[in-house]
């Protein structure tokens, strides 16, 4: 497979996953805005913007964090690289370039999302209320993902798509947790209070893991249980360990197909071994923020190694 094709597939997946993450954030933000809370409406939006790494970009364009402005920035603004519109447009552009590496079903799903996006963009603002926008995004992201799973040949292209999905998801889960923990609750004595639990529940909602969590754990919502669920529980589709396991699966497949080991694979293995042995209390001892910072750094290195090993076209 052409290195450039692999690169396009990898980014197609990353952009689709990013669009979904942004939509989830929007949904959860809108939900919080409906509920009076001690932390205040403005802080919530601010923390969500921070999670997408776009707080500064937002501040530069909008004076106040009203829902309309947030919606404009996170859904419609093409200058915001994390906005749903920007991500879907780029995902489709990447898909168009590698049209030959996709099945017609996958292309159809991508292209339909893009065509519908254009009509949403040309509709009068407000015709599409926020909940419809976020539902729409998640539906199309699921359709693309589903078309990939159901129809795509299990060749290297499938692996590069999945590497993109898993890496992006690992990064976004880690960032979301980090923001919640670090920005809102810098003081350890808040941990375990009612307010804290409320924030954590919000976090679960942001990952559509609210119900799944209760099925998996039951009882009282505690920080330790949530951290366990989102970091160490392989049943949770957005848990760090699930994402890293996915990276390993697809890097191993590439190694077998190409009969050649890679730095990316070695690094992903180390990351997985670390998570497999970790326990929640140890993570809290290290400091959740420190742990997450380290994890985000590790994933960035894996991303770099994937680029050097497969996508750059410079290996001999």
């Amino acid at each position: 497979m052409l290195s450039r094709t692999a690169d396009n597939l990898y980014w197609l997946a990353r952009y689709m996953e990013r669009a979904e993450t942004t939509a989830r954030l929007l949904e959860v933000g809108a939900r919080i805005a409906l509920i009076p809370s001690a932390a205040g409406y403005r802080n919530e939006w601010d923390s969500l913007l921070r999670a997408t790494g776009s707080a500064d970009g937002f501040a530069a364009r909008h004076a106040d964090a009203s829902q309309k402005n947030i919606e404009t920035y996170l859904f419609f603004d093409h200058d915001n690289p994390s906005s749903v519109a920007a991500c879907i447009t780029r995902a489709r552009e990447n898909g168009r370039i590698v049209r030959t590496a996709l099945t017609s079903q996958v292309w159809d799903a991508l292209n339909t999302a893009f065509q519908e996006l254009r009509s949403i963009e040309s509709a009068r603002r407000g015709v599409w209320e926020l909940s419809r926008l976020t539902e729409w995004t998640m539906r199309h992201s699921a359709m693309v993902r589903g078309a990939i799973e159901a129809t795509l040949l299990r060749d290297a292209g499938y692996d590069f798509l999945n590497l993109g999905y898993h890496l992006e998801r690992a990064d976004s889960t880690a960032r979301l947790m980090d923001v919640k923990y670090y920005v809102l609750l810098p003081r350890a004595d808040f941990v375990g209070t009612g307010l804290d639990n409320y924030q954590w529940t919000t976090l679960l909602r942001a990952m559509s893991a609210h119900r799944a969590f209760h099925w998996a754990y039951g009882g009282e919502v505690t920080a330790a249980k949530i951290a366990d669920f989102l970091i160490l529980n392989p049943q949770c589709p957005r848990a760090l360990i699930t994402c890293v396991q996915g990276l390993n699966t697809h890097l191993d497949r590439l190694t077998r197909a190409y009969r050649r080991t890679s730095t990316a694979q070695a690094q992903a293995r180390v990351a997985l071994a670390g998570l497999a042995e970790a326990r929640v209390d140890e993570i809290f001892d290290e400091g959740l923020h420190e742990f997450l910072t380290r994890f985000i750094g590790d994933m960035a290195l894996v991303g770099l190694a994937i680029h050097d090993s497969y996508l750059s076209g410079d290996m001999r």
Partner: protein, 470 residues
């Protein structure tokens, strides 16, 4: 006004090829028709076939209008065309080998030397090279128009990288999906083996240094190109990689592509970019599209390039006049397809005639394409004609003129129902170890009433083209 040949009706009689379509047309009330038209449009959009027009701006995802009324040829009509097209493709290739070799046709005085050797499309960098199997132009698109039951004229030859074949294939695909009954009731020759024949043709001209199964790629300028859809479509159907210049590099005596498994050798490049851009070391140094050193590998027989650099000299509008001469000279046969009489404005006599008859003629730029920079005399205002006259006088050598042909019409769906509209035809002839032609081609239709310009950039549309089995 001239009476135009209508391909469906002869007086009140329906001509044989269209016999089955009369009922079909009757059985389609306006509502059903607009439903079907919307369905077709959605299919095209979902498949992603869109067409961006250079210099027009606007929607880059614009669709070429698709007309559902098919254009039909009988087996007899087609076999005559087929022989003529193959003959022409053979002669054009013989000409190319000759003019980059000994130049016998010039020595024999059958074509003026300056027309060949001073031609902007004549590529000095490939003089003396004989490409594998003696083929320069592997895909020859011959634009034909019809003026009567048995009268076909060649409007122009396209020896470089004729586009539009994806429409031939997709138009058929969509018609079969929407009107399966029509295909059950009529015996229509299939065209869907085109990609496979193209792949075989390209593989058959692999360079001598290639042992074993040749690796074929399509070279595209990239996804911003208006024909990108076609490039990726063909790559997909042939099962070959679609590469950009940045994906290829030269090392040693071969061309390689960058893959996730490391470098892989490339043997045959079906390029969809112009000569000027394929190798910055040999042609335009500012080109970002090409592969530095490609021409050296090509010259030493390490890679085949399709069409071969330099092929453009055969489809030049001034050289066109001499194609019938080429058929006689190289094949010793009489040409089966006629040329349109052409006046070279560069010649004093011709120029005088052209300027005199300007309101009746079609005038084209020698190197123009896509329907730009041309004058259709009978369809132009006095002011337009006078403006064009000034341009011709300023640079006569840049123009040729032809009589305005009475292009045939076929029934076409329009707002008011069904009405005749003018059409042309581009079949795609494949030249490798053998010469192949799939039964069909791209029919372009001028959708505006009375218009003779079929180019998609000027409001033209496309139709499915049927050849009936015997």
């Amino acid at each position: 006004m001239t009476a135009f040949f209508n391909e469906m009706y002869q007086g009140q009689q329906v001509r044989a090829p269209y016999a089955a379509l009369g009922d079909w047309m009757q059985s389609m009330p306006a509502e059903l028709r607009s439903l079907k038209q919307a369905e077709a449009e959605q299919l095209f959009r979902r498949i992603g076939i869109t067409f961006a027009v250079y210099g027009e701006g606007g929607d880059p995802d614009r669709l070429i209008p698709f007309d559902m009324f098919p254009r039909v040829f009988t087996a007899g009509e087609w076999s005559r065309l087929e022989r003529g097209i193959k003959q022409r493709a053979k002669a054009l290739n013989a000409f190319l080998v000759d003019v980059y070799g000994r130049g016998e046709i010039v020595r024999a005085g059958r074509i003026p030397g300056n027309l060949v050797y001073q031609n902007a499309a004549y590529e000095k960098a490939v003089v003396g090279i004989k490409p594998p199997k003696g083929v320069y132009s592997h895909i020859v698109g011959i634009d034909l128009v019809r003026t009567g039951p048995d009268d076909f004229f060649v409007l122009e030859d396209n020896c470089r990288t004729p586009s539009g074949v994806s429409y031939m294939l997709e138009n058929r695909e969509i018609m079969m999906r929407m009107f399966p009954d029509l295909f059950r009731a009529n015996r229509i020759e299939p065209v869907d083996n085109y990609p496979e024949i193209l792949r075989r043709t390209l593989a058959s001209v692999a360079p001598a240094k290639c042992k074993g199964d040749p690796t074929v790629v399509i070279l595209t300028p990239g996804h911003f190109n208006s024909a990108y859809y076609e490039h990726s479509f063909l790559a997909d159907l042939m099962g070959v990689e679609l590469v950009e210049g940045q994906d290829l590099f030269v090392e040693g005596e071969f061309v390689w592509m960058r893959t996730t498994e490391g470098p892989r050798r490339v043997d045959v490049i079906y390029r969809r970019i112009d000569d000027a851009f394929i190798d910055p070391l040999c042609f335009r140094p500012d080109s970002m599209l090409g592969i530095p050193g490609l021409m050296d590998v090509y010259r030493s027989g390490g890679v085949s390039i399709c069409s071969a650099p330099g092929a453009g000299v055969a489809d030049d509008k001034a050289v066109y006049t001499f194609v019938p001469e080429m058929v006689r000279f190289y094949l010793g046969e009489e040409p089966l397809l006629q040329n349109v009489p052409t006046w070279q404005c560069g010649k004093a006599d011709d120029l005088a005639h052209v300027l005199d008859k300007l309101p009746e003629l079609v005038v084209k730029e020698v190197h123009g394409s896509g329907g730009y920079g041309m004058l259709v005399g009978p369809k132009s205002s006095k002011a337009e004609i006078e403006a064009f006259r000034a341009r011709i006088v300023a640079d006569p050598g840049n123009y040729i003129a032809q009589p305005t042909l009475a292009l045939s019409t076929t029934p076409t769906f329009v707002n008011e129902g069904v009405a005749p509209r003018h059409v042309d035809l581009r079949p795609y002839c494949l030249v490798g170890e053998s010469i192949e032609l799939v039964p069909g081609g791209l029919t372009r239709v001028a959708l505006k009433e009375g218009s003779l310009v079929v180019n998609s950039s000027q409001g033209g549309g496309v139709k499915d083209t049927w050849v009936l089995a015997e």
